[in-house]
Symmetry: C2
Subunit: 157 residues, 2 copies
DNA sequence: CAAGATTGAGTAGTCAATCTTC
DNA sequence: GAAGATTGACTACTCAATCTTG
């Protein structure tokens, strides 16, 4: 390995800031959401994904969330046990299934959403400018696409 | 609760993108780091914090990382058991201690750093412009300061 | 053999209760 | 009583192994 290109102060600030922001933000949002609705931030993410797409295969939901397949599988089995989501057969490819939100899951996310969206606004969205939000979305697409390219070469998951 | 101000498409993209990016990026970085050096991303963060500050109290390290106090406490006891960090008495306030990196901890992070920094560059830093990195650092400061203001009102920790 | 998904064992994180010192 | 820190029980995540279908 040649002499490492260490991070500059501003690069270091960006990277550590990203990690710190995520830690602190998700901890508080998760606490609020759980206390008020009984859903975790993870539950909420699953329900948002399925609600947006109507029905979805685990592999696609996992990609949208950025989760490992076994994490998703464990989490889904807990949510299925609680009656929030359900599985349907996938006729075209019997290795996979479709996931759907149950009526109870729909009630749960509809009850949780107003307060949670307010919290996300208060702590995150409303503290940033439109330009900053656009940069963030651009960064996400850029980094995630790079990660996926990386994972085409070997087995990432 | 009045009619909720739902997130616009671009706000939703920014927020979900942030969560997805963090999930996907930390999973891959953690796997690489653990495989090549035996340190987790969390271990690395602790060692970076302590190395930068020389000696540090748990409460300050927890703030820098954005971690809950019990998470830090559990993690430190594991790192102490592995000989990576150690505690010293804090003469001015005997409720607290100082944390220091051991010689072994220093060896571990120095061995891990070159490859890890390369990975952070390859997957994150080098894919973004300087302007984007600056925006990210600004966002972090802004959001984290808001969170701390929020936590002055009640007990967040 | 590759891809979608599950399982079990081990590790890590959260919450509430507790202890000590200020 | 509040702040710094720890502990134990519970929940969640990771990794590797496995199973089934393409």
């Amino acid at each position: 390995m040649a002499a490492p290109r260490w991070l500059s102060d501003s690069e270091h600030a960006a990277w550590r800031g990203f990690l710190q922001t995520h830690a602190v933000l998700t901890a508080l949002l998760n606490r609020e959401l759980t206390t008020e609705s009984g859903l975790s931030l993870q539950d909420y993410g699953v329900l948002v994904g399925l609600t947006e797409h109507g029905r979805m295969r685990p592999v696609d939901l996992g990609r949208a969330l950025g989760w490992e397949k076994s994490r998703l599988s464990h989490h889904l089995s807990r949510m299925i046990a609680r009656g929030l989501v359900a599985k349907e057969e996938c006729p075209s490819d019997r290795r996979g299934q479709f996931l759907v939100v149950t009526a109870e899951g729909r009630r749960a996310i509809e009850a949780a959403a107003p307060a949670h969206v307010e919290a996300v606004r208060r702590l995150f969205i409303d503290r940033l400018t439109d330009d900053q939000l656009d940069v963030l979305a651009t960064i996400s697409r850029r980094v995630v696409s790079g990660l996926q390219a990386e994972c085409d070469g070997d087995g990432c998951g």
